[in-house]
């Protein structure tokens, strides 16, 4: 049996995977797509794809939502949350088995690093590669922030992990975004708080989103500065006046360093966030190894979905050469 491409994704709300699969179909390249939801129909462990049949794995998504709803006999907000966490852990325990059964070098991105990516560690690695990053610290007191404000006009606070969406019992939804702290709102900060990541605030000319794919950087500039509403974080989408998104080419030296960083992390694909300050300096912010690239591909007409399909197909034709 010839080895094939394995795509790990989810069954709903995953246009990017659909798009890549359609390119694979069009190019006549066979592939196996396993959605996390499929695990709810498995009969035994033998149903999981095995190492021998797989040449390359693109790990895109885990699952959209469990296809079956589980609830407590007696509804309780607190316990319901614990149950949700437990089921997520149970699912991850099964899903991540593949990380160990399929050879690590077959994955476009090392799956264990990808699932446990540490923002602080990535920033340190970036600096090691000679990439400039905003001054970053983790602090626990207002006094520490006050001291930072002596050196930096403004600082921002953002999670060490990922932003979350909160829901209250009434169904209200709240999203967590980057916030700015300066002399005028410092008094709102508690004297002592949970260890929090703070960063020097960089006045940006524009942001850059780079999709890194197997040694190449496909970059897009995002102009949001003239739009007060999105000054801190362009995820505060503004539909009336959307941000301008245009193709961009990073300096070769920076592309090279980003390539070094990706290699250190064993990633062949990923979305990289950068910022350009008013003086034109580049600042590295973070990497999202499974980051969206449709939002770069379409506005810049890059055909990244086709490029991903071609990279996957290269991996199987390469395998063929070895085994012939």
């Amino acid at each position: 049996m010839s080895q094939q491409i394995l795509i790990l994704s989810q069954s709903h709300l995953e246009g990017t995977t659909d798009h890549v699969c359609q390119w694979l179909g069009h190019l006549g390249i066979p592939y196996l797509r396993m959605n996390g939801e499929d695990l709810f129909d498995m009969q035994h462990l033998g149903d999981l794809p095995g190492n021998d049949e797989i040449a390359v794995v693109w790990y895109r998504r885990k699952i959209s939502s469990f296809p079956v709803k589980y609830s407590l006999k007696q509804a309780d907000f607190q316990t319901q949350y614990t149950l949700k966490r437990f089921l997520a852990d149970e699912f991850n325990g099964l899903h991540s088995l593949l990380f160990y059964t399929i050879d690590r070098q077959k994955w476009l991105n090392d799956p264990i690093t990808e699932d446990n990516l540490n923002k602080l560690h990535v920033l340190a690695l970036a600096r090691k590669c000679g990439i400039s990053t905003p001054f970053t610290e983790v602090v626990t007191t207002r006094a520490a922030i006050a001291q930072l404000l002596e050196n930096y006009h403004e600082i921002i606070v953002k999670p060490v992990s990922e932003c979350i969406f909160l829901e209250d019992t009434a169904g209200g939804q709240y999203k967590m975004l980057t916030k700015t702290i300066h002399q005028n709102n410092l008094q709102l900060v508690p004297e002592k708080f949970f260890p929090s990541l703070v960063q020097e605030k960089i006045t940006k000319k524009f942001e850059i989103r780079t999709f890194y794919l197997d040694g190449e950087c496909h970059s897009m500039a995002i102009f949001s500065q003239n739009n007060r509403k999105t000054k801190d974080d362009f995820r505060n989408y503004d539909n009336q006046r959307p941000n301008r998104t245009v193709p961009y080419k990073l300096p070769a030296a920076l592309e090279f360093k980003l390539g070094q960083l990706m290699k250190l992390l064993c990633f062949r694909t990923g979305s990289i966030d950068l910022m350009v300050d008013m003086q034109g300096n580049y600042h590295f912010l973070e990497i999202n190894p499974e980051g969206q690239f449709g939002m770069v591909s379409y506005p810049c007409n890059y055909y990244l979905e086709r490029k991903v399909a071609q990279l996957l197909s290269k991996s199987i034709s390469h395998e063929k050469e070895i085994y012939q």
Binding site: D18, A221, N226, P247, Y248, C300
Partner: protein, 356 residues
């Protein structure tokens, strides 16, 4: 030194006398004189001061006005240099489907579940138009819509004749059941009006004229122009009317477009592969607007839908759409049907009936 940087997705298309500045991201376009376009082109190589010096003091005010217009529409920004890292937009075009759009002239007597249709929609067709020229049983339409559940088809447009019983609540129910239906055109309606259903997400256009045959198609109108990445890039390389398009006429014959005479087989006998491999089927697909007489001098050429079925000179594949009333040499619109030079072609296609 100050420079004006034009965003790469704002593309300038020069015509004989006027130009079109197409904002492909915001999906808008700006009709500007060629003189303004020339200033804009000059600014892509030089500083604002150099531009003023080049065009002379007399034009300083005008150039300042152009730049503030461009800034106010957010088509670019001023900087102390022309930012070289802002690279030009790659205008290449490709799709993962051999056929991206399909038109079906609906006929209750044709089965739409056969091998041909399965093979066709397995190609990942993106858009489908289902045209009903005459009163059609809605249950039969539902049966057809059912076929597309679970396929990768994204967009269905329904063209139906007006019926008093076919009220908005009934249509709302229909589109909620078949969410791929993203737009409706109701022809032969008592009045022209636009309604929205499915919480405002699906437009229903009531159109007072009759669409009782494919002869009604192919009209070029300013409100059909679209400024977007898909059309603009495809138009650089292919024919936007017929590239990767396929139609099935009311008798089940496979065509480029219902309005074209050539057929490439019948849905009961021909395979999709045979049609795609037929060179004659592909011959319109590569005719670019840049190669069509008159159109190549028109500033609207890359936002236009084109028509290859009804052309000014029926013997010439490269002649302009017959049903276009725009003159790029005078920048005026006229009623194409009254143009004396078009009468012989109108007669040739037998269009006299529909333009009365």
């Amino acid at each position: 030194m100050e420079y004006f940087n034009l965003y790469a997705n704002c593309q300038l298309v020069k015509g004989a006398r006027m130009s079109l500045l197409c904002d492909l991201q915001m999906r808008r376009f700006y009709h500007i004189p060629n003189d303004t376009a020339d200033v804009l082109l000059f600014l892509q190589q030089h500083s604002i001061e150099e531009c003023m010096a080049h065009y002379g003091e007399d034009n300083r005010e005008a150039i300042t006005g152009y730049i503030s217009f461009l800034l106010s529409k957010e088509l670019g920004f001023k900087d102390n240099r022309l930012v070289p890292e802002l690279t030009p937009l790659d205008l290449s075009w490709d799709r993962y489907s051999d056929i991206t759009n399909v038109i079906i002239e609906f006929n209750e007597d044709i089965s739409y579940t056969g091998d041909f249709f399965r093979e066709l929609f397995d190609l990942h067709v993106q858009g489908l138009e289902i045209r009903c020229y005459h009163k059609t049983d809605l249950d039969r339409i539902r049966e057809l819509l059912e076929v597309f559940n679970g396929t990768t088809l994204k967009f269905i447009k329904l063209v139906l004749p007006y019926e008093a019983t076919l009220a908005l609540p009934a249509l709302d129910k229909l589109v909620k059941k078949y969410p791929r239906v993203r737009s409706l055109l109701i022809h032969s309606s008592p009045a022209d009006k636009l309604e929205k259903i499915f919480d405002g997400s699906v437009p229903v256009v009531f159109f007072s004229s009759n669409i009782n045959s494919c002869l009604a198609c192919g009209e070029i109108r300013a409100d059909y122009f679209m400024s977007n990445m898909e059309l603009f890039t495809e138009s650089q390389h292919f024919n936007t009317c017929l590239n990767r398009k396929l139609s099935i006429d009311g008798n089940g014959y496979i065509k480029n477009c219902p309005s074209l005479p050539e057929s490439f087989g019948h849905v009961t006998k021909t395979s999709v592969r045979e049609v795609l491999d037929n060179k004659a089927f592909q011959r319109y697909g590569k005719i670019r607007k840049d190669e069509i007489t008159v159109c190549k001098d028109c500033e609207f050429r890359h936002v236009c839908t084109d028509c290859r079925a009804y052309v000014e000179d029926p013997q010439d594949m490269y002649s302009r759409p017959l049903k276009c009333g725009y003159d790029p040499y005078t920048n005026s619109w006229e009623n194409w049907a009254e143009n004396p030079l078009k009468q012989s072609a109108i007669a040739w296609y037998g269009l006299e009936e529909i333009i009365k």
